[in-house]
Symmetry: C2
Subunit: 273 residues, 2 copies
């Protein structure tokens, strides 16, 4: 009965028109192999903000997604409890809620990757304290073969420790700035204190968590152009920050060298408007 | 070696101070039971945008999270391929990428819930076309016992079909407006054409996808107050839209009755600034 509703027909027609208008792209684009790294205590939005845009764009452009972790199967987003400096009282995070995401591949059996995505999260502090360098070894080994490597938030620390930021410009979460930019994590890196995201050749790094959405919007425009992407952004009702220099959080968190002369405000508008 | 780094110590101290300042709340708050509904073809950000805020807030306030679906185990976010009106050519979505999220409970064995979250997504179109009313029956049965019921994007259609929006004000995704607001989905509903989100007693409904983040920020402020939440928002570097009447997408998508006199811009700033 509802199937014959003119309202639904109108909604469905709109969907179909949008899809049909772009359907050529499905057959003309080669398949892009995307690998998203997961680890216990990854930050949810670091993964699912960019994935919202990538999965929607995958209607128009053939992509494969490999969710890569230490083992296949469920990976918890709840932060490990032992992420604090041992010289301080441990923080109990065992009561925190956190869904699990299913990893499809391991660092050993991941397929060739065109794009590697690295999220941040409390878990990478724990991994460093355990002297776990599996992710860093994976990134160092795969870097030259990838077309792009992107990190969100403190995922930048993994790129730094892997050595792939040497000689490059990068940014990260401004709340965790002093930890990530510790020279012990990587030498010869030009840290950009006020940036929503930084593009340096094949390496893109974003500021904290939510900034991953803005970086991914800019990245997909770089790959595929604006028009189809703006339609998508308006369907998911996200008004992106399009100025890579907009970074009020670098001021909020007193990052050394932050641009304090800019307004903290950003007048975001719908994409394409 | 890195453990003794003054930079990391400083980062860790900041974390610890933030956590310690709020630690009292952990023992004084009762546990809040949250149920997040999942179905094949749920929209990623409809679930993980609000969950980013909820999971972070769960450090400060005891919560449990039940991910509820038709069966326990992995639930695919990839849209079902048969979501189109049968009178039109089917759209093949089988090539789209979509991670899976692990459901912890079914509609039959879900625990008592204080807060019920309902995401949108292409999957609910498919469920309606299959005359599947399991989610609607669940919501109708649990509604009176819940303190709050929130829907994101087209999740509103599930609330409408469950009958719980009768006599209430609500909004939804503006791109899917004509389909969701079809009178066949529910009678005696006051649809608000220009709204980022709408609060009507225990029922909160948001506009499309990304609007769920703004609704959840407003909802958590309603529950817990602003100060701790603003610290959190600045750590995840999300500048929320705080005006429930800001809705440029109602203009972009030509929603009947949309407020065309307002600027499409919103000068977002860091929370608390």
């Amino acid at each position: 009965m509802l199937l014959s509703s003119p309202h639904q027909a109108s909604f469905v027609s709109t969907l179909l028109l949008f899809f049909s208008a772009c359907s050529i792209a499905i057959n003309t684009n080669r398949t892009i192999s995307i690998g998203y790294i997961l680890y216990p205590g990854f930050e949810l939005l670091d993964v699912y903000g960019p994935l919202e845009l990538l999965s929607s764009a995958s209607y128009l452009h053939n992509m494969t997604l490999s969710l890569i972790s230490f083992t296949t199967g469920p990976v918890a987003s709840r932060p490990p409890g032992h992420l604090m400096d041992p010289s301080m009282p441990p923080v109990d995070t065992s009561h925190m809620i956190g869904p699990t995401t299913v990893a499809t591949h391991t660092f050993e059996n991941a397929p060739p990757l065109d794009i590697i995505m690295v999220p941040g999260g409390m878990g990478n502090v724990a991994l460093e304290q355990e002297n776990n360098t599996v992710m860093e070894t994976f990134i160092a080994r795969r870097f030259d073969h990838a077309s792009y490597v992107l990190s969100v938030c403190t995922g930048t620390v993994t790129l730094a420790r892997a050595g792939v930021l040497s000689g490059r410009r990068a940014t990260t979460n401004k709340w965790a700035w002093s930890w990530v930019t510790d020279p012990a994590h990587g030498k010869n890196i030009t840290w950009v204190p006020s940036a929503r995201w930084v593009e340096d050749g094949k390496v893109w790094t974003s500021s904290g968590v939510a900034a991953g959405l803005d970086m991914m919007y800019a990245f997909l425009k770089h790959l595929f152009g604006a028009e189809e992407l703006d339609s998508l952004l308006n369907q998911i009702e996200y008004a992106p920050h399009v100025d890579p220099h907009w970074d009020p959080f670098s001021v909020v968190h007193n990052v050394p060298g932050a641009d304090r002369n800019r307004s903290l405000a950003d007048c975001v508008v719908p994409a394409g408007h």
